[in-house]
Subunit: 343 residues, 2 copies
Amino acid sequence: MAAIMDHVETEQVLRAHGGGGEMTGRLIAEHLLPKLANECLSPLTDGAVLSWPASSVVFTTDSYVVTPLEFPGGDIGRMAVCGTVNDLAVMGAVPVALSLGLIIEEGLPIATLDRITQSIAVAARQAGVCVVTGDTKVIERRGEPGMFVNTAGIGRLRDGCRLDLGRVEPGDVIIVNGRIAEHGLAIMSVRAGLEFDSDLRSDAEPLADLIGGLFDEGVDVKFLRDATRGGLAGVLADLSEQAQLTVEIDERSIPLSRTAKHAAEMLGLDPLTVANEGKVVCVVAADDAERALRRLQSDPLGRSAAIIGKVTNMHPPLVELITIAGGRRIVQRPYGEELPRIC
Amino acid sequence: MAAIMDHVETEQVLRAHGGGGEMTGRLIAEHLLPKLANECLSPLTDGAVLSWPASSVVFTTDSYVVTPLEFPGGDIGRMAVCGTVNDLAVMGAVPVALSLGLIIEEGLPIATLDRITQSIAVAARQAGVCVVTGDTKVIERRGEPGMFVNTAGIGRLRDGCRLDLGRVEPGDVIIVNGRIAEHGLAIMSVRAGLEFDSDLRSDAEPLADLIGGLFDEGVDVKFLRDATRGGLAGVLADLSEQAQLTVEIDERSIPLSRTAKHAAEMLGLDPLTVANEGKVVCVVAADDAERALRRLQSDPLGRSAAIIGKVTNMHPPLVELITIAGGRRIVQRPYGEELPRIC
């Protein structure tokens, strides 16, 4: 019986792994710590103490419920790290540390947990952050066992960062750092069992260094937002509504791969509303636009960066797309959930 | 149809509320912000910026998966606030701000969400913290729709706090701030449909002020831990194992109500291993024990505080209980999960 239990324990997450007892300790010690260890996390105290030589803390959180857990180009763990790092970066912060809350359905293969934990470790290293505190819960399964991941993050506000929607004005230029819609389409195509070209992969990437480059370059950056749920359309709708200005974008200049365009058509989706996990919308002063673009393009995560439009004072304020055919259409914020559990 | 949709929208959380579009915005604006509003949260940016006049940040996280969502003495929202505040407090921090990650199952009555959000707001006010950033996801339901809550928290490390397991030594005194096991037993009794006395309620309370009192009093506090999952037994087992010292506790002195004792017997549970949400185990220098006890007892959340045992250098290091009958038994850390989804 003991042998069977031991076997089961190494293969699947059990409800007992979530009880806060001996088995929880072993799950953490054997499967989480070896990959994520650092001096803050390893003592397994109730939290982490970080020295903080800065006058501000930027604090953010996101939960991830994506299915499937693993998909071309990433997994829920990589997304959780990139998403939270990117939320800090678009606030003008240098990401410093993450917390990690895992809610695991019983029956999840330990091998899956190990791959996702490893992926978290790799993404965190890439982003220059550590997971410094965490929590693990186990719940009953619903069908195929999955997991939910919450990451909260803290960062240091950059000196001289002047992000402020109130500074956005007509003439400002809108830049995106690369091809849109690939995250959501990669996941939808897996779910639909469709086989598109192999280059349709999630774009989940940590963007803090890319964004930092703009500040280092002295670009007058006025607004940043990562285009996740709701896609590019959601970000531009927020921008227009909150700044009370019109945003005019040019469909021809929006980076979109042929594969993604094709996939979106097959799935009946508007690429503008599809989630990304490695795309940031930047609003910069017109005079700085070319410099900002060059800086972004010099980074591997911004190679396909493009100026996609500008801010105008047309009334009423809305988001207007100049189509490839030369027409104009109003871009709406997606209403409900077109793509459930995409992030 | 529009009228029907509007009706449905106000009654239940729908999948579309999680899409990051118009409906997500309305759910947040109409049901979350009114109760939680503060200057950091209200702009609904990707995160919060907090000025930080301290040299350290303490950072922690916890997810809550308790069922039922509401129970005598509390609900998942109150627990999520208290639990994270208490994790900061036992690290020696003054809690400052919380993040709030909601994962809601579609079909959850909006009225339930409203009550839990209100409870979060009340508990946060009581604890002197604000929810400064958040995230909302909606997933498909499994049976009766529920929700999961993640809170991460940041706090400022208290000056002069010398919590350090390495300082724990034989002779140190172990204090708990009140009656144990009531949180877990309250929940289990609801689940079992058993009707115990009405005074069996969750003890979910924020303990930061209570704990702060010990530091203000100048008590030499060496170790603090809130006794949640795994109960008092889990904390003492950790203490003994990590300090490599024996912990001797006296069953007669452990605060336990007759109702809780009776409930534990009926449910076949050891009160020592049952989760609490408002109990902290304190290890203090022997000379300071009486002063610490009086200070705790002067706070409403410590009225039933008691000295329950001491640290000794008996070998091998273990947790030993002197029973009411005068016998001795070794207290084991719970192995797996006796009480699923208790916190």
